[in-house]
Subunit: 291 residues, 2 copies
Amino acid sequence: MTKVLAFDIGGTKIAYSIIDENGCFLNEVIKVSTPKSAAGIVELLKTTVKGLEDEIDGVAVSTAGAVNNAGTRITSVPGNLPEGYNQTDFMALTTKPVLVENDANSAGWAEFSIGAAKGCRNAVILTLGTGVGAGIIVDGHLLKGKSGAAGEMHFPVDSGHKRVCSGCGMFDCFESFASGTGLNANAREYMGAEATSYDVIRGLKEGDHQARAAFDKWQDYLIKGLIMVANVFDPEVIVLSGSMAKFVEYDKVSREVNGRILTQPFELKEAAFENNAGMIGAALLLIARIK
Amino acid sequence: MTKVLAFDIGGTKIAYSIIDENGCFLNEVIKVSTPKSAAGIVELLKTTVKGLEDEIDGVAVSTAGAVNNAGTRITSVPGNLPEGYNQTDFMALTTKPVLVENDANSAGWAEFSIGAAKGCRNAVILTLGTGVGAGIIVDGHLLKGKSGAAGEMHFPVDSGHKRVCSGCGMFDCFESFASGTGLNANAREYMGAEATSYDVIRGLKEGDHQARAAFDKWQDYLIKGLIMVANVFDPEVIVLSGSMAKFVEYDKVSREVNGRILTQPFELKEAAFENNAGMIGAALLLIARIK
């Protein structure tokens, strides 16, 4: 049974575990705070790999940032990771096979391989967190584009300079409305300067009208993005993952989007995996390459 | 040398010619008015095929409407073609190989194979005509989706119920702003009830301020769509074709879009082929299948 050491590298924490070819975790997932320097991250990765090298067939890395098509290095600097992290030489971690993949792509591949999009050939997995990420499967393959950066969910969905996107700097960008950051902005707009998305979700359960307005605005922009995704990709399924996915009103959103598209109906699903999808997807991509 | 009879079937005319494996026309392109009934279209296709059957290795059809993934039939009813046209049994036209493909996909394939996107692996070809069509090439393959309908350029790019899309019925859809229909609407809005896109283009050359405003609004929405396409697909090149493509200010649009995207820069180009791209693309797709 092939098994690999899988890392998930984010701005606040790094998680790792050993995963087998069925996508099963062979030990508990370890989580540590992300070191404050690029050298610190490399040191952590090296030490971890060294300690487990005899047990594994390779190292899979799911990371924030765009990853090149060869799966060897990061091509953009993720804003929430230390300067110089994009220079990391992942290939030098071990002499065994190493594969790097973007975290939204990795999570998408996990859902496509053994999760909510299993059995599909065309699927889009949207990660609704602080921002919005996308793992896009086209005819059974990850959509990567010329430089590995495909799936950036930044595009104008409004006009009138309503809101600036912290991810791309544009006005009226999808991510600035349909992300957790977007719901926080709605909370402040409808419920007061101190309100957050937590207040929106709590207020929603209590029947608060302002909370409902803040939430509906968030969900309406999500619907706009899903219409684009469905019309452009004609997928069998769209999967929502990430911290915001559990708040979505699936039946209502699915009905609205399917009622407005020109392509054939798709299924809207919540992700099968939570935080560990990135590790699973990167591991499965590497194991497929090894075999 | 393999050669096929290629048709281009649109709402107002049907064109056909014989095309070889280099994409060259072996005779003049014949154009006839599209018959008013589905039976009339079938009759025209049958008669034409019969007269040329001995000279050809197959029949390629570029058509309005979504085409299934097998390339055998139409799955949606194009609004400007007669009722029942979607029932057409293209496979019964001849015992030789037959392939059907959507016209925007066919035009995209022609540009990708031997036109403005030649040598690329990832390219998006937008046809700006009465509506907006897209032929999308992902890692050397046509993006078709689960049912063959992928590439519908219908998605909200504004809010406030500004304009209804005649293609999908949604408010504030990309196509209703960035198409020729969109420029006509701008003409009426800025230049008076009788004005059309022709007045905009003429006024633009004459330095008319209202014409400039109407044109800029059209081009600004095109920019919105190109930002989406570039961020989501990360293509090497975006090609603009169709009757409106010649009016685009390529340098300005390219600079604006490339300045706002998170993916690597792409090249914006005008299509190499004009009206005959659909026939060429369908022919090349069929010839590749025959070989």
